[in-house]
Symmetry: C2
Subunit: 341 residues, 2 copies
């Protein structure tokens, strides 16, 4: 099942005056829920950090232990939010469920991703708090998961904490890889950042896409996460951000961005049944992500509507609104023998 | 003289938890003032857009026609400034010399690069004007150059305007390439963005580094540009930005950043005499630039002091200040046969 062949990588090329100016290389895997690698670009076994694209898995201990949690609060636990008032309200509500305070969040602080929210903070002369950190919902969810599972809140971000050990086990189980193949680093918000082969990450998203509410405990929890994120795309990212804009345009599509230009997509309906897609822009260039995402969906048979194409504009304009170049995408999706199996 | 061989490219690798997370590929040329390619990484003939690293050449018609211009105003004409009050004052002073107004600047508008200046604008409830555009000094200088040369101000950003034609000719002459090898695109500020082989761009910086004030008209103008930029590194970029921080640490070094991670360096003193260095991070990833710049200087025999190393920290920290990874730089500088000639 482990791919050993490398194919031509995908490329996203930013042209200026008809010449290539900058080039991003993209590696991608398309996997079904049992882990068959159906199609790939580049190296589908590339070991990559999903970063925030791990959030749907990081929220599973919460989804398992708190099945009654409203979907908007489960969505914010899976979010890389932009710090808008609606985002902060959802985080505060989730925090309150475990009797936790902002000071209990170990994520650190950064200005809101949303320019409007960031400017409002500056106008009010306020500094960002851990609440504004894009991962604060995940941390609030982790605190509630600890309470429900009877784990200590102390050290909830440490790799040896029972919550983080469980999250790593869930990555291995859902990805269909040995636990030792899930490497441990540290994320921007201080929880473990896990790394695994692209095909494993893609399988996680295939499992999310295929999950049924009447399934076993884990399947039902996966289904709730899928339902929460697709029902509340506005909470998962924020105004003008890819997950928020893309999910509503494709019924049955769950997407999640990760830092350094990782992307995970779970596609419930395709000619091949539920699929998971994971890709990594090798250099971490986030701007290449919408182009690669749309090209992958198109290669999987989805017609690109004008609304979808608007998420990855081919023509590039400068500060004065003048056309200065084009974006050229090459995504030579290689179908493997397993696609016909 | 045109290199036909490609060497191993340089790499800047961002690691997390001991694993590579993202990788930038860098192509580089080291050239002497007569155009000999002494050393290279990757493809020294890569055609690249210097973008703002063209500004020292774009300021030459001004330097030639206004030899009495104070060095701070010549420096702001060569700058990608950050919109601080000192930057705006220098641009306004330069603008006034040609009796021009902010409305005459065709660069468009964007918020100041300097976070403090951008926040101040938000606090005052003001929108950015063309004065805040990082290229406003260049545009103010172009307006004065037009006046002194007797060229119309109308259409001063158009490729067929005499100013822009002269700038393209100067690129070809200083790079030692045919005019046809200098391709024309459009820049973020609407003037022509020119593209040329890396070795040609490197030769431009070698000419800047080698220029003498008592030389002929062009050499004297190059020398004034070199003197202006190295005397006023604070005006060339801004607080915490690479050109501003790097130039004061290395006597006789002129540097200029260009968008999409282009970099030009003119080194007046080296074991090989004056040198020009030009490199392009293939994917346009700006964060790789300080790492590649320092590695190139070290490969050329410059000891890296703690002050220099602080510009490209090896250890990466997250929002909470926790160490999360390291940056690994591989710059296998290949010395050509011409290096010994």
């Amino acid at each position: 099942m482990t791919p050993t062949t490398q194919y031509a990588p995908a490329e996203v090329i930013f042209q200026r005056g008809g010449l290539p100016e900058s080039r991003h290389e993209v590696h991608l895997a398309v996997v079904d829920p049992v882990g068959r690698v159906l199609a790939a670009c580049g190296d589908p076994a590339l070991v990559a950090f999903p970063r925030s694209a791990s959030k749907p898995v990081q929220a599973l201990p919460l989804a398992l232990a708190a099945p009654e949690l409203p979907l908007d609060e489960l969505a914010i636990a899976c979010a890389s939010h932009a710090g808008t008032p609606a985002h902060l309200a959802a985080v505060e509500s989730l925090l309150a469920r475990s009797g936790s305070a902002v000071a209990d969040l170990h994520c650190g602080a950064h200005p809101p991703f949303d320019p409007q929210a960031a400017a409002d903070l500056i106008r009010r002369g306020e500094a960002p708090t851990p609440l504004h950190h894009n991962c604060s919902g995940k941390h609030a969810g982790m605190l509630l998961a600890c309470e429900r599972h009877g784990w200590p809140r102390t050290g909830y971000t440490e790799p040896q904490h029972p919550l983080q050990r469980r999250i790593r086990e869930l990555h291995a189980e859902l990805a269909g890889v040995p636990l030792g193949a899930v490497h441990i680093g540290t994320d921007g918000c201080s929880v473990p950042a896990l790394a695994l082969p692209l095909y494993g990450a893609a399988r996680i998203f295939a499992r999310l896409a295929a999950a049924e509410p009447q399934g076993d405990g884990l399947d039902a929890a996966l289904s709730r996460v899928f339902g929460a994120m697709t029902a509340h795309p506005d909470l998962v990212a924020g105004p003008g951000r890819l997950d928020t804009d893309l999910m509503p345009l494709v019924p049955g599509l769950l997407t999640k961005m990760g830092a350094e230009a990782f992307y995970g997509m779970g596609l419930r309906h395709s000619a091949h049944g539920p699929l998971g897609i994971a890709f990594k822009v090798l250099d971490g260039g986030e701007r290449a992500r919408p182009y690669a995402a749309l090209a992958a969906l198109e290669a999987l048979g989805m017609p690109l509507t004008p609304e979808l194409l608007a998420l990855a504009p081919q023509q590039q304009r400068n500060w004065a609104g003048r056309a200065v170049g084009e974006v050229v995408v090459k995504l030579p999706l290689h179908w493997t023998a397993q696609a016909g199996a």
